[in-house]
Symmetry: C2
Subunit: 138 residues, 2 copies
C-alpha cells in the first residue's frame, strides 16, 4: 500500500486511479476506516471501508472510461485535515464537455500518510461554467 | 460573538439561525476567514467571509421561511476538525416534503471555539429517501 506524503499526493492518485480505471490505486487512497464516505452524482451515499471497496470495484470494472479534467478552486488545510475543493468536468462519450460538478475531497493525516475520508460531489447550477457572483436571495 | 464549545453547538446554531432567519446568529457560526466556502443547492460557490456574509444577509432577509428537518448520518471528527454529514429535508410552501439533500458541515477548532468552514449540499438521486445500498456500476 503506497504512503501519500501530502494531501495532494493522495489527490493525484485518486484522479489517476479514475483515469487508469485502477481499483487498487483507488482503494489505496481511502482511509482504512468505517468513518469514510463517498457521495457521487446520482448515487446513494456510501459509507465505510467495505461498502466503498464494493462501490469502486463496481465502478472501475465498467467499460465506461471516465475522461475527467480537474480544476483546483480552494484548499482549506490544518495540520491533520485537508479539504480540497475542485471543479470536475467530465467529457461525454461524444467528446463534448458536460456540466461541471464541484467536489470536496477531505483528507486526514494518518500513521500511513494522508488518506481520503470524504469525496462529495455537488452539481453546479444549469449553465454555470465556473464560480460566479453571489446570486440574489429567494 | 458567541463561542461554540463543540461542533454540535455550532451546528445547532446554524440550523437555529436558518429556522429563525437570524442573520447575526448565522454569521457567528462561520469562521472569520477567507478559507471558508458555501455550496448551496442551485447556487454558485461562495468563498470567503465577505461573500458569505453577503450571501446570508440576502438569503435570510427574504420573506421565504425555511422549514428544514435535519437527520444525522455520520460524524468524522479529529481533534481540530469535524465533518458532520446530515440529511436535510425541506418542506415546501404547501407543507409537502421535498426531496432530501445531503449536507456536509465542516468545522474547525479556533481560538474562539468551533467555527464552520464549509457547508456543502448535494442533492439525492430522484426517489431516494435515505441512504441506500450500493448502486450497480455504470
Amino acid at each position: 500500500m503506497p504512503t501519500y506524503a501530502t494531501p495532494q499526493d493522495a489527490e493525484d492518485a485518486f484522479y489517476d486511479a479514475l483515469d487508469e480505471q485502477n481499483t487498487e490505486k483507488m482503494l489505496s487512497v481511502w482511509d482504512d476506516s468505517d468513518a469514510i464516505a463517498c457521495l457521487l452524482p446520482m448515487h446513494a451515499l456510501v459509507q465505510g471501508r467495505g461498502m466503498i471497496e464494493t462501490l469502486w470495484r463496481a465502478l472501475l470494472s465498467g467499460a465506461h472510461r471516465l475522461d475527467l479534467s480537474v480544476t483546483h478552486i480552494q484548499w482549506i488545510e490544518t495540520a491533520d485535515t485537508a479539504l480540497h475543493l475542485v471543479e470536475e468536468r467530465l467529457s461525454g462519450t461524444d467528446g463534448r464537455p458536460q456540466a461541471p460538478v464541484y467536489a470536496t475531497n477531505t483528507y486526514r493525516r494518518t500513521d500511513n500518510g494522508w488518506r481520503l475520508v470524504l469525496h462529495q460531489n455537488s452539481p453546479t447550477p444549469p449553465g454555470m461554467r465556473s464560480p460566479g457572483p453571489v446570486p440574489p436571495g429567494p
